[in-house]
């Protein structure tokens, strides 16, 4: 069964959501997933994920939240 870790970064000051996501990537199991919630699109994070072999999908919710699902590619 895959594990999921949710990081709600909507009430965090930048770059705290990035800090927490990068720390979570260190312990992400091969079939695990990180779900990051933000009010913006984190382009710096996308660059890091792209360079380090992670895949992600993002969906926009009605309240303006961007929901980002991150997995190992």
């Amino acid at each position: 069964m895959s594990s999921q870790r949710v990081i709600d970064g909507r009430d965090m000051q930048p770059p705290e959501p990035l800090e927490q996501t990068l720390a979570a990537l260190d312990t992400l199991p091969p079939d695990g997933e990180i779900v990051l919630l933000l009010y913006c699109q984190p382009h710096p994070l996308y660059q890091i994920l792209r360079r380090n072999g992670y895949a992600w999908t993002e969906t926009m919710q009605a309240d303006g939240t961007t929901e980002i699902h991150i997995r190992k590619a």
């Binding site: 909507r10 009430d11 965090m12 000051q13 930048p14 770059p15 705290e16 990035l18 800090e19 990068l22 720390a23 990537l25 260190d26 009010y39 913006c40 699109q41 382009h43 710096p44 660059q47 890091i48 360079r51 380090n52 303006g64």
Partner: protein, 445 residues
């Protein structure tokens, strides 16, 4: 809509930092000069000393911080590439430093050749800067309130320095230069155009992002740049040499627009999602309160005879026409508004840029220190308190001149502390960058 930032085209970290680290030095110089000048310095806005102090603040402290911020901000907020940002910074930065020093010295010593050389250096440096930054801004793929605000701000900067250079020619004896009218228009375009619009454009990003507030309303982003541009164009009608009865109403409209920005910012900050003490938040609130106080004071000034008096109660308040009143408005604007918000932004931008650049250097193997470790929180709080004490002392010194020396020293000390805090952030960056490089060298094949 909350803004998105892209750091793929961000310039090298030293590009904004060389401007950021120079800005407080001009504040120190202004504070020490005020202390040296003593009680007469704040008697009027027109004395050579007051003009020198004003330009150390606006063309020294404020312009340095704003030029550095814009070089960083255009690539990350507008997605536009600045042509040879490193080269531009290494030419514009020293030219501005020397130019402003000569200009301030020229106000004190008289408008001799060095005064003209200073003005010429500033115009040359800013023309190069505007050509590069303006080209990037007008070709920027991003759209929205910030881009519009920044484009009009850069246009206003051009008007400001062209008028400023014309004033230097007039002061050196060129005939036919209406000094008073040009000074009014020069100050309005510099403060209400370049400075306020740049502040608003950056605030649309920085306030929601770092202070966790709701986004600025769309209508404000549309109203402010076009409204202020209209006001500034109408205000410039006095350059024709004719006096227009409606000029006071134009000024009032501009002040209302500026006040709207302050009120909306304070309202958004009251609605912030995370209610924890924050130095930047407090400095921003102090800045907006100062802006509102300056606006009230200016409205009172234009209501006093012989200006068209639209508030009958003001007609008996003759102290509003005293030259010291204008000096107090200047202190509220330069120190209360702009130094406060610039300091607040630097306390967020420097740790954030440190973190981003270190993260890019270290990748996922060496995580950078926490944001809160970049500049000690206690040092920022202490400096902020000293800044507000200095502001209060400067305002009191206008009414009670014996306090002028102490007020100048307090302001110099608060700027010196700001410089020290920024340098401590740079030291953290350099130490950690060296550790990352050393680790990479150890693991190299």
């Amino acid at each position: 809509m909350h803004p998105n930032l892209s750091f793929e085209q961000a310039p090298p970290i030293w590009v904004p930092y060389r401007f950021f680290l120079t800005a407080p030095l001009f504040g120190i110089a202004a504070g020490l000069l005020l202390a040296w000048a003593g009680p007469d310095a704040l008697a009027s806005r027109w004395t050579p000393m007051a003009l020198a102090l004003t330009h150390l603040m606006v063309a020294g402290f404020m312009l340095q911080a704003m030029c550095g911020a814009l070089l960083q901000f255009i690539p990350v907020a507008a997605g536009a590439n600045i042509w040879r940002a490193g080269l531009v910074a290494s030419l514009v930065h020293p030219a501005l430093v020397v130019g402003v020093a000569l200009l301030a010295g020229g106000f004190l010593a008289g408008p001799g050749p060095w005064f003209a050389a200073g003005a010429g250096l500033i115009v040359t440096a800013l023309s190069g800067y505007v050509a590069v930054a303006g080209f990037a801004l007008f070709r920027a793929p991003a759209q929205g309130a910030t881009i519009v605000a920044l484009r009009v701000a850069v246009l206003a900067l051009v008007v400001t320095y062209v008028l400023g250079f014309t004033l230097t020619l007039g002061l050196r004896g060129s005939p036919g230069v209406p000094l008073l009218e040009i000074t009014h228009v020069h100050a309005a375009w510099g403060l209400g155009g370049w400075s306020l619009l740049l502040l608003s454009g950056v605030s649309y990003y920085v306030v929601p992002m770092f202070q966790l507030t709701p986004a600025y309303p769309v209508w404000l982003g549309r109203l402010l740049p076009w409204g202020l541009l209209t006001v500034l164009l109408l205000w410039a009608a006095q350059l024709s040499g004719r006096a227009f009865g409606w000029q006071s109403w134009v000024l009032l409209a501009g002040l209302l627009l500026a006040g709207t920005f302050a009120v909306v910012t304070l309202r958004l900050q009251a609605l912030r999602r995370r209610r924890v003490p924050d130095v930047t938040l407090t400095l921003f609130r102090g800045g907006m309160a100062s802006l509102l106080a300056a606006i009230v004071a200016l409205v009172a000034t234009i209501a006093v005879p012989p200006a068209p008096t639209f508030v009958a109660a003001f007609s008996s308040m003759t102290f509003l026409a005293a030259p010291e009143w204008a000096v107090a408005i200047g202190i509220l604007t330069f120190v209360g508004l702009f130094v406060s918000v610039i300091t607040g932004m630097l306390y967020k931008i420097v740790p954030f840029l440190n973190w981003l650049h270190l993260q890019r250097l270290g990748g996922l193997t060496v995580l950078p220190p926490n944001m809160k470790q970049m500049i000690p929180e206690r040092a920022m709080i202490g400096q902020m308190r000293l800044h507000f004490v200095a502001l209060a002392a400067l305002l009191v010194a206008v009414a009670w001149p014996p306090l002028t020396v102490a007020a100048g020293l307090l302001f110099a000390a608060s700027c010196a502390w700001l410089e020290w805090n920024l340098l401590s952030g740079v030291r953290v960056y350099r130490d950690f960058r060296d550790r990352i490089r050393a680790a990479a060298a150890c693991h190299a094949p």
